[in-house]
């Protein structure tokens, strides 16, 4: 019994505060070997792996960094350039971590360390793709209106959706409004990103007619199903049939409508006595109708020529008698 208790405490101690699974020796060895096979110097490989380890020590997810190292090595990218990319990713993860801490309410909506790491990765990606911290804060404010169950994951995926739409050249303010409306209506991560990608693919339509995006926003705010908002398949970018599927709403949190008490209607001011209307001027008399001149007589119709007589039908020939043969 005591050993079980100690083991349980030990497990809690290990799992508490860890954002994601730790970098294993096996993973480090595999990446090092990959680099050496490409002729990278051991010092280069140590520096790259050290960046991932340092991020992990600060509570940031290391897997996206390791994946980027593998990608860079495979594509033959210079080690210095890979390091720069890792620094940029780490910086975005730190900003994402700070933004999530601003958004989190202590003791409410807590997620597991693994989920938090994933959420942080998504938000960091959004920042890397052009969303600003102020835009994230603005999204958080508008998603949170009347929605006390808003999760950090919702914020992260809305931010990523915003990044996708901005990449498509859609106006940031309108895009933000669409994403926050879709989030408030309980759409899950897949729904938010599907919507964003769909709207991005129709970017030219919205650049030509900006009011169309506003219409979409209004429809989303009304709570219309996102799959109804899709257009016909764009010929240049074939869409998969997934848009025909009803979006999965099983993950929707229970919607609790905010208790909005209607404010009292203000009293109408008393109607002031209207001043008397001045008399309308008298209508002038209609001018007399002028007498129309007499119509000339129509000319007489010429006589039609007489119809020729129909030719006489010749008599039908008589049928020959039937011959019945017997065998």
């Amino acid at each position: 019994m005591l050993s079980i208790a100690i083991l349980t405490l030990a497990l809690f101690g290990i799992s508490d505060g860890v954002a994601t699974a730790a970098l294993s020796e096996q993973e480090i060895a595999a990446v090092t070997k990959l680099g050496e096979a490409q002729g990278r110097s051991p010092d280069d490989m140590k520096r790259l792996i050290a960046q991932a380890q340092q991020a992990e020590a600060r509570g940031l997810p290391s897997e996206p960094l390791l994946d980027k190292i593998r990608e860079g090595l495979a594509k033959g990218v210079d080690s210095g350039r890979i390091e720069q990319r890792l620094s940029s990713m780490t910086s975005n993860m730190e900003k994402a971590d700070a933004l999530l801490k601003e958004a989190e309410i202590p003791g409410k909506g807590q997620t597991s360390p693994q989920d938090r790491g994933r959420t942080l990765g998504v938000l960091a990606e959004a920042l890397g793709r052009g969303v600003t911290p102020d835009e994230v804060r603005s999204l958080h404010r508008s998603i949170g209106e009347g929605n006390s169950d808003a999760k950090p994951e919702t914020l992260a995926y809305s931010a990523k959706g915003l990044a996708v739409m901005k990449e498509g050249g859609l106006p940031p303010d309108e895009s933000k409004a669409v994403m926050s409306a879709a989030s408030r209506h309980g759409n899950n991560a897949a729904g938010l990103l599907d919507l964003a990608r769909e709207l991005k693919s129709r970017g030219q339509e919205f650049r030509d007619k900006p009011s169309r995006l506003h219409d979409i926003r209004t429809a989303v705010e009304r709570g219309e199903r996102l799959d109804k908002l899709r257009s016909d398949p764009h010929p240049a970018t074939p869409r998969s049939e997934r848009f025909d599927q009803r979006l999965d709403r099983d993950q929707r949190p229970d919607q609790k409508k905010p208790d909005l008490a209607r404010p009292e209607k203000p009293l109408k001011p008393e109607r002031l006595e209207q001043p008397a209307r001045p008399d309308l001027p008298a209508r002038p008399d209609k001018p007399e109708r002028l007498e129309q001149p007499a119509r000339p007589d129509k000319p007489a119709r010429p006589d039609l020529p007489a119809r020729p007589d129909k030719p006489v039908r010749p008599d039908k020939p008589e049928h020959p008698p039937r011959i019945i043969q017997s065998h």
């Binding site: 994946d67 495979a74 990713m89 793709r129 990608r197 074939p238 998969s240 049939e241 997934r242």
Partner: protein, 119 residues
């Protein structure tokens, strides 16, 4: 929980971006209850592979098979639900952005990855 890899995605290069390797038609992706299928038309290539986040970006882990005289290459890869970045590797050294994907993202190294979303 059962892994939900239920998509068949047919991805074919259009002739425009391939240049020397050539390509003919663009097929619309279709959905079936099988792992993700990648298809590309590259008649001039000697080998083609798919590399991405699902195979540690290895240009040798998922070689594609030539399917006929029309220069098509194909590979069927079971993928977990989620987003996966990928590119095609032609002749072991040339990395090509897929012409058709659910999304495209900058890789941070001056190239563009395709993204598939598997549900």
């Amino acid at each position: 929980m059962r892994r939900s890899v239920q998509w068949l995605l047919v991805v074919v290069l259009s002739w425009l971006p391939l240049g020397a390797w050539g390509a003919k038609d663009v097929d619309l992706p279709s959905k079936t209850d099988r792992p993700v299928q990648f298809t590309i038309s590259a008649p001039q290539a000697k080998s083609v592979a798919v590399a991405g986040s699902f195979n540690n970006w290895s240009p040798t882990a998922n070689p594609m098979q030539g399917t006929g005289a029309d220069g098509r290459w194909s590979a069927s890869i079971p993928l977990q639900a989620g987003e996966h970045k990928f590119m095609y590797v032609v002749d072991g050294k040339t990395w090509l952005t897929p012409p058709v994907a659910d999304e495209f993202v900058d890789d941070g190294f001056g190239q563009t990855n395709g993204v598939i979303v598997v549900r």
